[in-house]
């Protein structure tokens, strides 16, 4: 096939160069226009949230809907930075997100290799069990889990959340599916070269699965960053609170929520993730070029 490729490739590019540049430019503009409209639709709610973060509490919700604040209340942001413990919350959330992400990617991809590349009895049944437990809603078994972790003395520590989130079947499932797209010949080549299974995993599978690792890392990070119920139940000490937890507590009294301040906090909470995504999303689409897999 490679010989065919070298013959074919130059002709293909010449054929492409033949299509009309005007038509292509028009197509491009139409594409951009569609994308911009779509992006606007996607970001509208976020825009409303930012605008509302600058309103005072009693003006956030009104009839009719007001998009722009009448009075720009910057104090909401000042309030959060000065009056609340936001730095502690950010620190806790960061520690949890980074640790969980690193551990889940590590153990998940490790286990995924076992499930996809090593044949041993009971493998498929075990894997089905993994996936099956995803099907049980968390609030159903959260109480027995809580009792167990409390008896182990882990409740009210950051470890509880780390343990809860790290061993998710989701990471294993994702990585396994990705490993299945990598041809067996590569592992064979590795074995021939004398690599152990662990070596194959580390030197061949991992570098080739950069997009999967990137997406798993991102999604795990986001889920841990935004997790509310887990920290709510396990992290009672205010010094352990995460961003979502601290924010809700800060703005809520029994009958009342100060939505202006809440939204300010939520805007602050979204920004780090947006930045990480923006900078890191090229890793989803850049992997080792498949042409390197020949020979």
């Amino acid at each position: 096939m490679s010989e065919t490729m070298t013959l074919v490739a130059p002709r293909a590019t010449r054929r492409q160069a033949g299509s009309s540049p005007v038509a292509r430019r028009a197509g491009r503009i139409a594409l951009y226009a569609a994308l911009i409209i779509a992006a606007a639709a996607l970001l509208t709610p976020f825009f409303w949230m930012v605008m509302s973060s600058l309103k005072e509490a009693n003006s956030v919700f009104s009839v009719p809907v007001r998009w722009l604040p009448e009075v720009f209340v910057w104090e909401n942001y000042v309030d959060i930075w000065q009056r609340s413990d936001i730095l502690t919350w950010i620190r806790n959330t960061l520690v949890l997100s980074v640790t969980v992400t690193a551990l889940q990617v590590l153990t998940g991809s490790f286990a995924a290799y076992g499930f996809s590349r090593v044949r041993f009895p009971g493998r498929n049944g075990l894997f089905l069990l993994y996936v099956a437990t995803i099907a049980v809603p968390w609030q159903s078994y959260m109480i027995p889990q809580f009792i167990m972790l409390t008896n182990a003395g882990l409740a009210n520590t950051l470890w509880s959340i780390i343990f809860l989130q790290t061993f998710s079947a989701f990471g294993v499932f994702l990585m396994k599916q990705f490993y299945e797209t990598i041809p067996e010949e590569l592992s064979e080549a590795g074995r021939l070269d004398g690599l152990s299974e662990y070596g194959i995993w580390w030197r061949i599978m991992v570098p080739l699965s950069v997009p999967a690792i990137a997406s798993l890392s991102l999604l795990t990070f986001v889920n841990t960053w935004n997790d509310y119920l887990g920290p709510l139940i396990y992290l009672r000490d205010p010094s352990l609170w995460t961003l979502q937890l601290g924010l809700q507590n800060f703005v809520t009294s029994l009958y009342d929520v100060d939505y202006g301040v809440l939204f300010a906090g939520l805007v602050i909470s979204v920004l780090p993730i947006a930045i990480i995504f923006l900078l890191g999303q090229r890793f989803f689409v850049e992997g080792i070029a498949t042409s390197g897999m020949k020979g």
Partner: protein, 306 residues
Amino acid sequence: MTSTPSAAPARPRARASRLRRRNTLIGWSFILPNFAGFALLTLVPVVVLFYMSLTDWNIFGTSNFIGLENFQRLFGDGSFRLSLVNTIYYTAMHVPLTIIVSLGLALLLNNRLRGVAFFRTAAFFPYITSIVAIALVWNLLFSPDFGPINEGLRFLGISEPPGWLTSPAWAMPAVVIISTWRDMGYYMVLFLAGLQTVPRELHEAARVDGANALQRFVNVTLPCLRPTMFFVTVMLTINSLKVFDLILVLTEGGPGQSTTVLSQFIYRKGFEENSFGYASAASVVLFALCLVVTIIQYVWNKKRTV
């Protein structure tokens, strides 16, 4: 299998079983770190859950074994049946819609256009925004008398636009729309990663052979995407059957019971009405439903791969 010069063909079974043991050991060594945590933290509580469904546990320790009584009660329970129907209705609408939209997005944004990073981030924004904010904003947008969406519809000449989240007939469709809007960035990321496994040479070869974009998509992209598609479909289906947070903050299951799904039924029975055994039984039914659907998808996927 590598062909090592075998000495005595007299003991192939012994070698085979040694190989199997070696593989078992290696396999388990890979799985163990993850599995240990999984077994302890998830498997054990889930087993407890299953046991609880056969009791009348009220969380504070007193539990009597009552066998299948909870299940009998479930199937006579009108609210349970209703929430089951709602859940299936939601899933049936949400899964195909989300797959189409997120795959479309991934295909569209799998290129090197200038600013594509911005568009991908925009698509992902709904997923990272807090659920509370999403519920608040969409409730406003869908407000039947004063919301922008209905204002727009009236402008287009529709005199009686739907009541959306306040109408029992339109609440679930509205929920599906919002849910898809939220999830599409998430699944787009997964599809983007999956699209990287489609070798470009295959595309080039197909193009040279005269295949147009659609044919290339069907004959090159889709088959290579199969493992990812399986993953996405299974996760999406299970997550849809389990949906809870979003609907709770959007409509709290209302108006009436029109958007009450199984997870909310379970939550109400367990945490608000203190019938944990009963709620556990409902969880088992949800689990069984997910399992059946997943097995069907698994079998279908296997057939296609062969």
